[in-house]
């Protein structure tokens, strides 16, 4: 097919494309008008725009568009408004926009095309600029910069640990809403992350390595930007981590954690579980086999009736029979097994281990071992060897118990990033560049890592040609303001002012873009 034919098909597809519901929450922030304008300006025309809330004083222009539907009521946490909008969505796909954010014109089209082409991903996300603006007293908002701060590919464990998919960049099949349970109306700051976490139990996310929107951060003159990296409210965090949408979860193993403290721990066991839950980010349930167990079981904890004279193996056996998780962590009877040890072993088991392997928890001590098993593996071993202690039964049944290898631990990419960042901080720029390139090769985040490597080489000096090669590759695949600025600096340092000017004019074009059309910075 000729290129021209392909373009004709492309246009026809857009015209006949599926309906996309855009949920615009216009509750508490200024900027709803601009957000709505950016939604209505999409190249994909088949939209249902659901505006939750009144927007700015004076109302919203664009409400007369037949594609826009206004939903009343706004009070309460952010999750409530999102929930209201998502419930009203009727499109095949749903995406989200907040007052204080904007879509680029191709946002919906890009994500629809990605999802239509993918048979196994129910959600996709584009990259989003974090656009810093100066909030001037006259109401103007000159743009200070546009930086994509997270360009990583989808990583389920990382998403469970922290928010890395921006809600403004997300689009998903509407059918997932029912399965994942929609937004939690009680959550405010973490509502979006909670929703993405639950979606991730049901689908993979497709990362579209292209910037398709922006989120605005307004800073008053002379003031530092508000930091959003601070710890989120503890109560919300607990609620997010304890969320368990109805099973089955086709994309995530559920973890049952069995504790049978020796000697019986009583109320201390409840404290131990609370401490572990504070740090466990994977979905899990606890099974406590303690004859002196707490009088009032907490949510997510099953307290089992066991006799005081029961040996440890018998108590664990009883708990194992009750577990409904795909994997079972048998925690050592004594000692301080950490949440990190449990998640590391769980990660190694579900991502790396062979079907006949189980992963030991931490460093085993004499008489006090623990491990994460696949449920069916452990049950079969107990059925086949009921007279043996649990570990010996598993081994007799052919299960190999081994510790997790360092490269099987979660967040290998993040550890690599940290190491490269530390090398940069020490001034070892060439070493940092090498580390970034290796991370790109090993983890498939090539463009992002190429740009990071190019930046390190630029700072190293006398490495401009390799830096330029890496930077060009990154900018050819997914240009960003930072990437274009770096390429321009490299070109200018090498006397190529005309080529540098072209890069900078592209960067300036991106910086000048606003949903209201081009504006002078001040």
């Amino acid at each position: 097919m000729a290129a021209g034919d392909s373009r004709v098909m492309h246009v026809r597809d857009i015209q006949a494309g599926p309906t996309v519901s855009v949920v615009l929450t216009a509750c508490r922030r200024a900027g709803a008008a601009a957000a709505l304008r950016s939604a209505l300006a999409q190249t994909h025309r088949d939209l249902q725009v659901l505006v939750v809330g009144a927007g700015e004083p004076g109302g919203l222009a664009g409400l007369g568009d037949p594609r826009v539907r206004r939903l009343a009521g706004c009070g309460g946490p952010a999750g409530a408004a999102l929930c209201r909008g998502a419930r009203a969505a009727t499109g095949k796909y749903v995406c989200y926009l907040d007052a204080g954010a904007a879509y680029h014109r191709h946002h919906v089209r890009t994500l629809v095309e990605a999802l239509e082409a993918s048979s196994d991903c129910g959600a996709a996300y584009g990259e989003v600029y974090r656009t810093t603006r100066r909030a001037l007293p006259d109401g103007s908002r000159p743009v200070l910069g546009k930086v994509v701060h997270d360009r990583r590919d989808f990583d389920r464990f990382f998403l469970l640990h922290c928010e890395h998919v921006p809600l403004t960049g997300l689009m998903h099949r509407r059918s997932l809403l029912g399965r994942a349970g929609g937004f939690n109306e009680r959550l405010d700051r973490l509502a979006a992350w909670d929703f993405c976490r639950r979606l991730a139990l049901f689908t993979d996310f497709l990362h579209v390595a292209s910037v398709t929107g922006e989120v605005y951060v307004d800073v008053p003159p002379g003031e530092a930007a508000p930091e959003d990296a601070e710890q989120p409210p503890a109560a919300e965090l607990r609620e997010v981590r304890s969320a368990r949408p109805p099973k089955p979860w086709p994309k995530m193993a559920d973890l049952s954690i069995v504790l049978a403290p020796e000697p019986p721990a009583g109320e201390r066991a409840a404290g131990r579980i609370a401490e572990l839950r504070e740090h466990l980010y994977v979905p899990c349930r606890f099974y406590l086999a303690d004859p002196a167990g707490p009088s009032r079981p907490a949510d997510g904890v099953a307290c089992l009736r066991v006799g005081r004279d029961w040996p440890w193996d018998a108590r664990v056996d009883k708990a194992v029979r009750c577990c409904d998780g795909d994997c079972i962590a048998v925690v050592p009877p004594a000692g301080e097994t950490t949440a990190a040890e449990i998640t590391s072993a769980f990660h190694a088991l579900v991502r790396h281990a062979r079907s006949d392997e189980a992963i030991l928890l931490g460093r085993p001590r004499p008489g006090a071992w623990g491990a994460v098993f696949r449920r069916e593996q452990l049950l079969r071993a107990r059925d086949n060897w009921p007279a043996l202690p649990i570990r010996r039964a598993a081994e007799a049944d052919g299960v190999v118990l081994r510790p997790a290898e360092p490269d099987e631990l979660p967040f290998a990419f993040e550890r690599g990033l940290r190491a490269a960042g530390a090398a940069e901080a020490d001034g070892s720029f060439r070493q940092a560049a090498g580390a970034y390139e290796a991370l790109g090769r090993e983890h498939g985040q090539v463009d992002w890592m190429n740009q990071a490597a190019a930046e390190s080489l630029y700072r190293a000096g006398r490495q401009d040609e390799p830096a330029l090669t890496l930077c060009r590759r990154a900018n050819a695949a997914s240009p960003s303001v930072s990437g274009l600025l770096l390429e321009a600096r490299l070109l200018r340092r090498n006397g190529r002012a005309a080529a540098a000017r072209r890069m900078l004019e592209r960067a300036k074009g991106i910086l000048d873009w606003t949903p209201n059309g081009k504006e002078q910075p001040c």
């Binding site: 000159p142 546009k146 930086v147 701060h149 951060v217 959003d228 321009a488 000017r501 001040c522």
Partner: protein
């Protein structure tokens, strides 16, 4: 919880705070280098709007005005830069160039000195100081700054040559000879260094018997 990102959200904002400014300044400099002075000035003006307390956009405007021969405008721009950032060496370097063009050598000398006090590495100011010294016939202060500069950049033959010239004028012939030998070791084809060395060595030869007699 969020600390293990590659680039944290607040880091992104902190980078973002100066990014547009950086793009405008770089673009201004590219345009100026390519002779597109009016559009370069437009970039600097926009950058000045974004960061009104920064000196760099005014330095850029001053340089553009200087290149266009608009000395009064250049002076205003460099003064604006110096008032925003009193430690901005380039602002004083620019003012020195304006004064030099106005043939106010004493004023230019003072501004070059101020620039070098703030940035001993500023080669433009150093050579400007050398030129104004030649116009005024006073060299003592220049020698100090050239020596300081050479401590940091011992292989800079143009500065070495200037210093040799000044030593020769001050009758410090051995020091001049040493400088010129260094220049020729680094740049054997530098003809003016060879010529000056010849003159210096003749002068040394001429004065040595007298020294011996007086001893």
């Amino acid at each position: 919880m969020l600390s293990i990102r590659g680039l944290s959200a607040d880091e992104a904002v902190s980078r973002g705070r100066t990014q547009h400014f950086d793009v405008l300044m770089e673009l201004g400099e590219c345009r100026a280098a390519l002779g597109d002075l009016d559009r370069a000035a437009e970039c600097y003006r926009q950058a000045g709007c974004l960061e009104p307390a920064r000196a760099a956009p005014y330095v850029g405007l001053g340089v553009v005005a200087l290149q266009s021969g608009r000395l009064a405008e250049a002076q205003r721009a460099f003064e604006a830069a110096a008032s925003r950032e009193p430690a901005c060496a380039e602002a004083y370097g620019g003012l020195a160039m304006v004064r030099q063009r106005q043939e106010d050598y004493a004023g230019a000398f003072e501004m070059h000195l101020k620039c070098l006090e703030l940035d001993t590495d500023n080669l433009v100011a150093l050579l400007g100081l050398f030129q104004t010294s030649c116009q005024m016939g006073t060299f003592a202060k220049v020698i100090r700054y050239l020596e300081l500069y050479l401590q940091r950049h011992p292989g800079d033959t143009s500065v070495l040559f200037c210093l040799a010239t000044l030593y020769a004028r001050e009758d410090r012939l051995e020091a001049a000879r040493e400088c010129l030998l260094s220049v020729l070791a680094l740049e054997p084809a530098k003809a003016e260094a060879g010529q000056l060395l010849e003159q210096v060595e003749q002068e040394i030869a001429r004065t040595r018997p007298l020294d011996a007699l007086s001893a």
